[in-house]
């Protein structure tokens, strides 16, 4: 249990990020079942209501859907995944560019570093 959440950001947003990441990367595909609220709460050592809130938000975004008896499943459409991916990659890119600028690394050097880093990862 216990996961390195940053406690100065709402935890439910961070839980959403984890599951959104799983959906975007394909670890959770359409039709796959999510673990129960209780299981997630135990795994990450957080309040079950917090997990519930993250799941409600994902239901609302139509990433997932709760079937009353059988559990919660991924229902995200291809368009939704595409737009979510675009949104998330934009955020990540902004953060990355800012970081590189703050380190005094220019555009060309950054591109070169990306090439190199991509091969190594």
């Amino acid at each position: 249990m216990s996961y390195a959440f940053s406690t100065d950001v709402p935890i439910y947003l961070q839980i959403m990020d984890i599951f959104q990441g799983d959906i975007l990367s394909g670890r959770l595909a359409r039709g796959d079942q999510l673990p129960s609220v209780r299981e997630v709460a135990m795994e990450y050592g957080v309040n079950p209501n917090t997990v519930q809130k993250a799941f409600y938000e994902m239901d609302r975004m139509e990433l997932t859907k709760s079937e009353r008896t059988s559990g919660r499943f991924v229902i995200a459409s291809d368009e939704l995944i595409k737009s979510l991916r675009a949104e998330k990659s934009k955020e990540a890119l902004q953060e990355f560019v800012q970081k590189m600028k703050s380190l005094g690394i220019g555009r060309d050097d950054t591109l070169e570093l990306i090439e190199k880093g991509w091969m190594e990862e």
Partner: protein, 236 residues
């Protein structure tokens, strides 16, 4: 679930609590936070009916605290278990005392904590005793749990297993009130926090709202909050 209205309790020699109003809802995990001597334990003892108020009243569901013993499971700050006792014997006592005691759950929880049924409490470390007592308290099926400083005197490695024990074993529909001054270890558990100081409630907020509005962890905000209170008193 719990209603506290205009509650006041004074002591002769020291401050008690002054005019507390509070509603604790079903399904909530509430952190009762504040420095030592702020009135947390006094409030808890009043809710438990172990102290009588000078003014105001408390209702647990429809009941007065003195009539609500079957609805509340309480972990006191200090253990009241006899040191000669084994967990097996403690389970028997709890079973005969409380109809809601779930022995199966208790045995499972004891195994999760890697404690032995036949081991006497006196041979257990402080952390093990705390786990043993928590096992008894969490193994009752009740709508309201009160844990007074469940982490104090426990090493950080054991704190995590205590947290997990709480999460795994409480009923999701029940109310859980946890008092602590070790905020960072348990803040992930809370829906809501109440800050107490000098016998009064200084803050009552939803934690996720606090995190997004203040951009701070509960622990960070708690330190800032009580740091600045202390600053004031230095000026005076």
């Amino acid at each position: 679930m719990v209603n506290v209205t205009n509650l006041t309790r004074r002591y002769h020699t020291r401050r008690g609590i002054e005019n507390i109003n509070l509603v604790l809802n079903e399904g909530e995990i509430i952190g009762l936070l504040g420095p030592n001597g702020c009135g947390k334990t006094t409030l808890i003892k009043l809710i438990m009916g172990l102290l009588q108020p000078d003014e105001g009243e408390i209702r647990i569901g429809a009941f007065h605290p003195n009539e609500a013993y079957s609805m509340v499971s309480y972990l006191p700050e200090q253990t009241y278990l006899g040191v000669w006792m084994t967990m097996d014997e403690a389970f028997s006592i709890f079973s005969s005392f409380y109809q809601d005691f779930n022995r199966q759950k208790a045995e499972q929880m004891l195994a999760d904590f890697r404690l032995e049924l036949k081991q006497p409490l006196k041979t257990m470390s402080k952390g093990m005793q705390e786990k043993a007592h928590l096992t008894l308290v969490m193994s009752r099926d009740v709508p309201f749990y009160i844990l007074d400083e469940p982490m104090s005197g426990i090493d950080p490695a054991s704190r995590e297993s205590i947290l997990e024990g709480i999460l795994r074993n409480y009923n999701p529909g029940s109310t859980l009130l946890i008092s602590t001054h070790l905020v960072s270890d348990v803040e992930m558990l809370f829906d809501r926090v109440i800050f107490m100081d000098e016998g009064t409630i200084r803050l009552d907020r939803q934690v996720e709202e606090l995190r997004s509005e203040e951009g701070k962890s509960v622990d960070g905000y708690f330190r800032q909050f009580f740091g600045s209170l202390k600053g004031e008193s230095y000026v005076r």
